[in-house]
Amino acid sequence: MQAKYPPISVQRGLASVSHLGNDGKTTNVTVADLGSLTRAKERLVGVTATMAGFYATLRLTSPTNLEIQTVSTSAAGYIYVGWEIEYGDYLGQAQRGQTSYSPAGAGEYTVNVTLADLGDIVKVRAEMMGLRNNWNASFQAGSRLQLTSATNLEARFYGSTNNTMTTNWVAHKVR
């Protein structure tokens, strides 16, 4: 008998990115072919480093490529980014995007993103994949994300002048 929900599979890995200090890098990781971006969701499973002042975010840019962006705002060292990609039919039409904000002063700022109607939001998850900050920013940045309706995603950024903050997100139906 055919399963009601085809099995989900998970790919995972670790990116070790060398930084000289006060710099940003983009690392592309080849992943096993996912077939379709709308049936896959990427996820950050944490960031660590050998120095202070580090940021990371990631996103799928094609069914075979995971883009990881890292920033060191201090010394030279390594930034370690753990990632997972979950893929299977249950995801159905996952929506993803990249949202940025550059504030003119310190505070929390809101960016609303319009989505294609997701239906009942009790059946939807919205996940944020880390945060990239400007490499020469001294103010520690933060971000958070929440679905506020079936067609609206609210991203909030915490930063100040010189913070150029970027986060990636995926909204998808749950099983």
């Binding site: 998970v10 499973v45 753990g82 002063g105 009790v122 996940e127 679905l147 100040s160 749950v174 099983r175």
Partner: protein
């Protein structure tokens, strides 16, 4: 007829926490009964502040009962934090494992790991991981988790002159 796989559902919220003094605070959030901790997964979806000075902010989440989400935050004095969270619950084979790992750091930011024994998760490609963390003193901070075998989780953290407390969970993606 009873569905073979009960549909998953998602609860979400934003919790504000005001720190009168620098350090950690624990906030308990009542949630709709998820019936079993082994069938529910919690996720921290970012943290921001409205304070106008550069500071270290962090938040971790964990379910402590079927009706309670515990949020632990770190901030400096006179700071209000906003923490976004989601709880997804459904049929995970009653197999979700979760725990807390504390790693002590000397001065100087570095990465340290700690191994945790798990009940055998079976196929790692059918397993997903989540983590969130907070420091207990002002420090740059980070955590990530990785499966090194089907019975071992390695928790990595970054910090300086503090403890980094990481909440983690391991769950199967197919019912």
């Amino acid at each position: 007829m009873k569905a073979k796989y009960p549909p998953h559902q998602v609860q979400r919220g934003v919790t504000s926490v005001t720190h009168s003094a620098a350090g950690t605070m624990t906030t308990n959030v009542a949630i709709t009964d998820v019936a079993s901790l082994a069938r529910a997964l919690e996720r921290m979806n970012g943290v921001t502040s409205i304070s106008s000075s550069s500071l270290f902010i962090a938040a971790s989440v964990r379910l402590t009962s079927a009706t309670n989400l515990e949020i632990t935050t770190y901030a400096s004095a006179a700071t209000t934090l906003y923490v976004n969270w989601e709880v997804e619950y459904g049929d995970y084979q009653d197999a979700i494992q979760r725990g807390t790992t504390t790693i002590n750091f000397p001065g100087g930011c570095t990465e340290i790991s700690s191994d945790v024994s798990l009940s055998d998760v079976g196929d790692a490609s059918q397993t997903r991981l989540e983590c969130s963390h907070h420091p207990d003193a002002a420090s740059w901070h980070g955590s990530r988790v990785a499966l090194t075998s089907t019975t071992n989780l390695r928790v990595f953290s970054t910090g300086s002159s503090c403890n980094i407390i990481t909440r983690w969970l391991v769950c199967r993606v197919n019912p």
